[in-house]
């Protein structure tokens, strides 16, 4: 183990155990990941199995989160839905993160005509309330899960483009870049070898925060009926289905998926703070 690696591990350990919230964040994150991976195999009931006789029963020993209007076990559905919601969120963030940061880095580095064009485009995109834009995109592209991923990705692009562009503009005139150029490195090499890895930290922090937002976005779209269709278990449509029973007191149908959403987004936000502490102490709140 090199001294550098040891130093990095030390920082990680210091951050993780120094602030209990960070530990909580990573713990929860692990739990959520495990649920996404293992839930379909481990849940007590079939999430799709309906049973009119046990419809709308409150939480009990048999159905830990109660049942919905079709008699399905809410606990199983909430657990299984983790996978889909995480896939959508991760998919959208990875897509927009990679494309956005590449585009942003390129226009930040070279500037010029394309910088103007892309920046204008980003301004236009950001002129729409982003959720509304996502809605319209899904409506226009078609009501499928994949389109939800694309729509969420598009809506998130501006953040990454701006971030990467800003970082690039700051760094492109730094001393070591000049030195590399004098040393004979071409633009592409400088971009990929030196500059983009330096951007990695703020990008990762942005991505973790974005994950929370992507989950909310996807759930919101599903809540409105865009994207995921019943009977697929997904937190957003589960809340939508449960909404009409809230006024008559059957809270469990909507509340449990809602809680799952909250906990997940909360975890991602905490993780963002923890990552920020690890990767860039200067940005600590």
């Amino acid at each position: 183990m090199t001294p550098l690696m040891r130093d990095r591990l030390d920082t990680v350990r210091h951050v993780l155990f120094g602030n209990p919230l960070n530990l909580l964040a990573f713990g929860l994150f692990l739990l959520i990941l495990l649920t996404a991976l293992l839930a379909p195999a481990l849940v007590p009931h079939d999430p799709l199995r309906t049973n009119a006789q046990s419809a709308l029963q409150g939480p009990s020993a048999r159905f830990w989160f109660g049942t919905d209007q079709l008699g399905r076990d809410i606990f199983s559905r909430v657990m299984v839905a983790t996978r889909l919601d995480l896939l959508i969120a991760f998919g959208a963030v990875i897509l927009s993160g990679m494309i956005g940061s590449l585009v942003g880095a390129m226009i930040g580095f070279w500037g010029g005509f394309w910088d103007g064009v892309v920046s204008r485009l980003v301004d236009v995109l950001m002129a729409f309330p982003l959720f509304v834009l996502a809605m319209a995109l899904v409506a226009a592209l078609g009501n499928t899960v994949v389109n939800v991923v694309y729509a969420t990705a598009v809506v998130n692009l501006p953040f990454y483009i701006r971030l990467a562009r800003g970082e690039m503009r700051v760094r492109r005139s730094l001393g070591y870049v000049e030195a590399a150029r004098v040393g004979g490195s071409g633009d592409w090499r400088i971009l990929t070898r030196f500059l983009m890895p330096a951007m990695a930290a703020p990008l990762v922090i942005q991505a973790s925060v974005n994950l929370g937002w992507a989950v909310l976005n996807a759930a919101g779209l599903s809540f409105l009926g865009l994207g995921v269709r019943p009977p697929t278990p997904e937190w957003g449509i589960m809340v939508a289905e449960g909404a009409r029973y809230i006024s008559s007191g059957q809270w469990w149908v909507a509340v449990f998926p809602g809680l799952a959403l909250m906990v997940t987004v909360f975890t991602f936000n905490l993780m963002g703070d923890a990552l920020r502490d690890i990767l860039d102490p200067r940005l600590r709140t």
């Binding site: 204008r120 919101g220 909360f266």
Partner: protein, 335 residues
């Protein structure tokens, strides 16, 4: 004044871009727009073709865009196939409902978050400080539609303070005569304070739901801005001159902190416009957001287009207002 006009002028390219995007959204993306715009999925091929011609969809794209632009400049946003009215008329009819809700929510959010953030900065590590941080973290994690439902469950079902969440007014009451479209104002203008109160009661839960959403970023920013300002050197000069605490906190600290906070307000307003759609859905609020959703479900795309344009236009206007307010607050800010 001329600077305001220049600033307005700079928004035009963005507005134009917005128009282009809304146009492209329904014309270029995969799927046959004619089928979308046709009112009946069981129409024959000839019917669909007829619709296509009548909507000008067989023309080259640029021609279509020109027609679209001309229509737009005449205020023609097309027709809503599900209601039969012009989109412009429908939006105008429903806008006050959304506007009333958003404005009340915004005022609520500011009234709570600004003092909360300021006091949190003035008393670090106190109860208020911790409270503000909890609110900030929770507020960012809670989905608006879940918050709305939880509030309904708590305040309508369990405690019974709130009225049934079925829209703007109790079904047994009559709408006040329409002057502004804001039920509270119109009812008061009519001399009917009972109706005004009823309208306000119906608005409380959805307004609080939307306000909660805005609370987090505003509180966080106010606290951060106040903390930063309180550590500046001119505050030290003010203290050294013997200025009273109130003067220092309000005129010297708070006012300076407002500059970044106002910027955050603009951004938050944009998020609120988006969240509004969800809130209107949860509370059956007959605003533009609900209209947009209904249109999507009915495959009625002209209203969606009009809705998008309107949202973007409102947001651009809000940003302009933010810039003007900041220029008023901070003489260093060039318009």
């Amino acid at each position: 004044m001329s600077r305001i006009l220049i600033r307005l002028a700079s928004a035009v390219p963005t507005l134009f871009g917005v128009v282009i995007v809304t146009f492209l959204l329904t014309r270029v993306l995969p799927g046959d727009p004619a089928v979308f715009f046709a009112s009946n999925p069981s129409m024959t091929a000839e019917d669909v073709d007829a619709v296509r011609v009548s909507l000008g969809l067989d023309q080259p794209l640029l021609v279509q865009f020109r027609i679209y632009l001309v229509d737009l400049l005449h205020g023609n946003l097309g027709n809503s196939l599900s209601t039969g009215q012009t989109v412009a008329a429908e939006l105008a009819r429903r806008l006050p409902a959304s506007a009333e809700l958003t404005l009340v929510a915004f005022v609520l959010a500011i009234a709570v978050s600004l003092p909360l953030g300021a006091v949190a900065a003035l008393r670090p590590r106190s109860l208020v400080d911790h409270l503000s941080r909890v609110i900030a973290t929770l507020g960012v994690s809670m989905p608006t539609f879940v918050t709305g439902l939880l509030l309904i469950f708590l305040f309508y079902f369990l405690i019974g303070w709130a009225p049934e969440p079925i829209g703007r007014l109790d079904p047994f009451m009559f709408e006040p005569e329409r002057v502004t479209g804001f039920y509270t104002i119109d009812a008061l203008l009519e001399g009917d304070p009972a109706a005004a109160r009823a309208a306000l009661a119906q608005m409380m839960l959805p307004a609080i739901t939307t306000a909660l959403f805005a609370l987090a970023p505003l509180t966080r920013m106010t606290r951060a801005a106040m903390l930063e300002v309180l550590g500046s050197e001119f505050i030290r000069t003010a203290r050294a001159s013997g200025l009273g605490r109130r003067k220092i906190v309000v005129t010297y600290a708070f006012r300076n902190a407002m500059v970044p906070v106002v910027t955050t307000m603009g951004m938050t307003f944009s998020y609120m416009l988006g969240a509004n759609v969800l809130v209107e859905q949860v509370f059956s609020w007959p605003g533009v957001g609900a209209f947009a959703i209904d249109s999507i479900i009915n495959l009625d795309y002209a209203p969606l287009q009009g809705f998008m344009l309107m949202m973007a236009a409102i947001f651009i206007l809000v940003n302009l207002t933010v810039d003007v307010v900041i220029a008023l607050l901070d003489p260093r800010a060039a318009l």
